[in-house]
Symmetry: C2
Subunit: 319 residues, 2 copies
Amino acid sequence: MTIRTAIVGYGNLGRGVETNIKRQPDMELVGIFSRRSELDTDTPVFPVADIDSYADQIDVLYLCLGSATDIPEQATALAAKFSTVDTYDNHKKVPAHYEAMDEAAFQGDNVAVISTGWDPGLFSINRTLASSIFPQSQQNSFWGKGVSQGHSDALRRIDGVRKAVQYTIPREDAIESAREGRGAKVTSHNAHLRQCWVVADEADQERIENEIRTMPDYFVGYEVEVHFIAEDEFVRDHGGVPHGGHVITSGELGGTHNTIEFTLALESNPDFTAAVQVAYGRAAYRLKEAGQAGAFSVLEIPPYLLAPESLEELLARDI
Amino acid sequence: MTIRTAIVGYGNLGRGVETNIKRQPDMELVGIFSRRSELDTDTPVFPVADIDSYADQIDVLYLCLGSATDIPEQATALAAKFSTVDTYDNHKKVPAHYEAMDEAAFQGDNVAVISTGWDPGLFSINRTLASSIFPQSQQNSFWGKGVSQGHSDALRRIDGVRKAVQYTIPREDAIESAREGRGAKVTSHNAHLRQCWVVADEADQERIENEIRTMPDYFVGYEVEVHFIAEDEFVRDHGGVPHGGHVITSGELGGTHNTIEFTLALESNPDFTAAVQVAYGRAAYRLKEAGQAGAFSVLEIPPYLLAPESLEELLARDI
């Protein structure tokens, strides 16, 4: 049995999903749907305008679309025709997205798995599981070391900045506080260091550093490091998109202190997000095969549905 | 709506479950079933011989029984009458336990959640989830720092040992290897340090240390530390039952290295195991209410079923 999959959207995420599907033992990639007719890939490319006519040939459609406008504009129409998996990551709007996808998928008798990836996604699962274990818990999420796209863009808008990247780095003392149960005092500001790597002419550097350190919302109130480096060093060392972080939950049980920690250390944020999305495609397929319909968050999906192995194999291997 | 719970078995685990249930917002504790008529508790105590007559008054029965003989001898009869949660931890026999509990629970129209706790339990969930994310992965489990009951017992059997405890401690270099994707070379022997704290007369210490270091299966082939200490120091510092460990999974995605790590640092192994067991009682109750029957491993249970909060609250808070 092979799961027939397809991709809509071909940015970093879509390319990661494409590469990943080709490594799966139980999936085939029917094609990529794009507004562009020419993509640099060996996979068949179809116009996204024709997508509805492929409904009978595709079991799971991976929505590799942006959360800002593409998902809100396109996802429900796709969920009415296909079982889908998305990585919608606007945390505050997840309940509204869930509701919209639930209605669309239910009417189309499809399954829509929403907000996969790692945050939301694996971090969400860990937040729910860990806080359920303790009658009262202290929970902190930390992000990084990772590239913040928004902060990197802010650096690049400064006059004279030729190249720049900003890494968000959780402070070790804040992580230690969370592990020891003193995380209530940890705030976004005191938990994260903002590390900037900038290419600029020497004459501009003092002014640029001052503009960075006084930029409201983005840098004021944070511990900030500014490093000026040569362009070749920047190209060599700062081309990746690492990310990751920690969910740390602790609680008191019978007078003892107990800590649950989930950590991701990712060299490629988009490739890892794609890998999680691909695995949830297996769950979407199996839920639909089992007669389910509607939206499913990662909190509602039994872990074994992600694995290519059978439940019997997992019971013998992982338990 | 209150979940009516009861406990069978009143050792360290049963006491931990009792304390924990009393802190839950949606559970009441009907009583403890024991072979002993007098227990040091304010909770009502009933003879385990009469347990079947309480079937109508109890939604979830926590089996706080040993895995060696109690669970194999008693669990199926209890699952035929009650929805149950156990912490059966004989990894190799989990598939057989699953099958036996599935048949018994199904015939009684009950739900039996098996092998909760942390290993098996939370570690199992993480092993399945993490290995599902990578097309190919390297996965290592580490245990400790924690008290090994079997090794501590082995120390106490040595002539002249008055008090002793053995901590299993994962080696930092082995953990680092796993994080870096070189975990295939990590074995149980080279991954764990065995640290012994012993109270004994000075005249016996050289012989005792020699007996420890040459004890086959338990200590030969491991890095071993032996510390002789005074009795008052032992009583003051070594009365706890800490445990924990790591599940580390890494894989290559698009030429990048990515690591998923789940860590537990527990001051009380039995109280934490009890806390996980109690949370799965909520899942057992909800599955039964939803018309399900039979055995469920932790791999089959959607995470949100463990939380006292509703799915809507979790979608707004944890995602």
